[in-house]
Symmetry: C2
Subunit: 365 residues, 2 copies
């Protein structure tokens, strides 16, 4: 996919990658009014370069912060573990929420609406609280109870519906605020790009990044970040990105060679609650990017997730089950590459372990 | 108090601040064999200086890491909030545990023993897991259930007794491993010094730091760190440090002018579970340092802690109750100073909020 840098004196715009339509960044549109494609925010890379590439996001865009980003990267043999669960509310979603809510503040939106399996709802609730904006979060009733409690603790209005997909539909139908759902919000992805920059700037050599995919914000954020770093002459090429999905929730196996790890016949993952999404508005974009940089997708079942989670705790890392799926995939992927494998550990286990849970406790205790 | 830098070619040693006795750093002693004073680790500041003061700890001391430190510092009006709850296991104790367990690894200790109200036990369990060392943690049975579950999730052996003080006594009596309790361990304090360095290096001006005090590791770590930065010529003087204690658990009010915030008659705080310690081996050292840099101590009651916790969540910050006590104190302290006030937010609320709790829920929901 081509990304354009020709904004002249303008520093950023909303843009359709398919038809090239440009919209003002304060537009409430998240999809192209001409062709329906979810939009991207695009920054003037010349301006980024002029400032010494401290960030792939212009500082003036970030009006709301809780100190997200610059997470630790630690060595573990063949793996480089990027501890994204140490963002302020315990997941990488904080990076996206910071920019999303910054835009909401700049545009004087008074109520924002989000749908989430948990982490993005928590992030949106916390950053909205920080900005003094009202947040309404739609979530599935079977999301981890601890996550739902955290959404409410930040003062957001929580509306639970039956499934993750119903949450998405209900949020889209709610007209009493501005929909900023991370599954389509352009600035959410924009906020995530700096994961790519931080990996490159760390100076650690790596060949491949394994990436959990539900709505694809991390995958597209990394892809866009690495693409921009290529355009800026910082790296030669986008590294290999291997998408990871949960058994029973694979959308990419239609488009890519698929490797299944411990998926039982007909299994639908329960442990990987953050990956249980079937409506993916950016699916075509993810598939197109994956077509360029991904040799295959890995789907992981609960037995492998549980074992991998146990291993991560035995390494001192309090992660959530969904990102244990990514570590399980990484161990498979490492056999196919000679270079080091980056493993983003995306969500905190502190939202889970304090609450007794038969399925999780089976592996941890 | 005088701190010495005269180690010649030696880079560090264990030292008694009272009588000057020096011991090898791999000694299992934590108190002076001559006068009973808890020891400090002392580093060769000339060597620190020669390396450009990247850290107040020599890199080669840190053999075990989970990416602790370099936590965000965010602006909030008169306050600078240091987000120590974003350390790997959710508290500032990770900084101390990293160095403590590094020493255990260097000394080939196979089992370490710790006593804790929760966070230090979690940190010791996680870093021991990372190092492949067996950990046994003594904790009070009424510690937050989520914290006790986390200690076990990292594979440590948890032994619960009736009170925090009994946990300390039982740990000291356990001879089947090396006692590394943070309440006396010299390297634990050594690991915390970099909070002072990070504050100074941030470039943000501040006049005073409010500091929660239970066993005093953060207070003494900051004091020692700032002292060393003065010796290194990085700052002119140690900033004012205001200790904060919980109602019913004040040890410093015997030594300092005391300000009480919402302490009911005879109140013993329940919310500030991390501050409920009465046996404080380093109390004389804390009192002496406070005599130099603290005009008064603030004690905070549960009503003020609860209200302050509610306020922090409404700012998007998921903290634990004990560090809400510090923010409550900071709001009082700000009236006495014209400069900015640093507020270390020391523990994560993600260990609490997922679990229903009548006392906490009253303030958050």
């Amino acid at each position: 996919m081509r990304i354009s840098t020709s904004y002249g004196r303008r520093t950023y715009a909303l843009k359709c990658w398919r038809c090239g339509l440009e919209l003002d960044t304060l537009s409430t549109n998240h999809t192209c009014s001409r062709c329906g494609e979810p939009l991207f925010a695009e920054v003037n890379l010349g301006e980024i370069s002029r400032r010494g590439i401290e960030s792939l996001v212009l500082r003036e865009l970030k009006k709301v912060t809780l100190g997200e980003g610059r997470t630790p990267l630690i060595d573990h043999g063949r793996f480089l573990l990027k501890l994204e669960f140490l963002n302020p509310t315990g997941s990488f979603k904080d990076r996206g929420a910071a920019l999303t809510i910054s835009r909401a503040l700049a545009a004087s939106w008074r109520t924002v609406i989000e749908d989430s399996s948990g982490n993005a709802g928590i992030a949106t609730a916390a950053y909205s609280a920080r900005a003094g904006i009202k947040a309404r979060i739609y979530a599935p009733a079977d999301a981890p109870a601890g996550k739902l409690r955290l959404i409410k603790a930040f003062g957001a209005e929580l509306r639970t519906v039956k499934t993750r997909d119903e949450a998405h539909k209900a949020a889209l139908e709610d007209r009493s605020g501005v929909y900023v759902g991370h599954v389509v919000e352009p600035f959410f992805i924009e906020g995530i790009k700096d994961v790519a920059l931080e990996l490159v700037k760390s100076g650690s050599e790596f060949e491949v990044v394994v990436v959990p995919v539900a709505s694809g914000t991390l995958f597209l954020g990394l892809y866009k970040g690495f693409k921009e770093l290529v355009e800026l002459g910082h790296i030669d090429e986008v590294p290999t990105l291997i998408p990871v999905e949960a058994c029973g929730y694979s959308k990419l196996s239609r488009y890519l060679k698929s490797v299944s790890l411990a998926c039982a016949e007909g299994e639908r993952s329960v442990l990987a609650d953050a990956l249980r999404l079937t409506i993916v508005p950016r699916l075509q974009q993810i598939a197109r990017a994956a077509g360029e940089v991904s040799p295959y997708v890995v789907t992981v079942g609960d037995e492998a997730i549980g074992e991998s989670m146990r291993e991560l705790y035995s390494m001192g890392l309090p992660v959530e089950p969904s990102c244990a799926a990514v570590y399980a995939a990484a161990k498979y992927v490492a056999r196919d590459f000679s270079g080091r494998v980056v493993v983003p550990l995306t969500g905190s286990g502190l939202k889970y372990v304090p609450v007794p849970n038969e399925l999780i406790d089976k592996y941890l205790f």
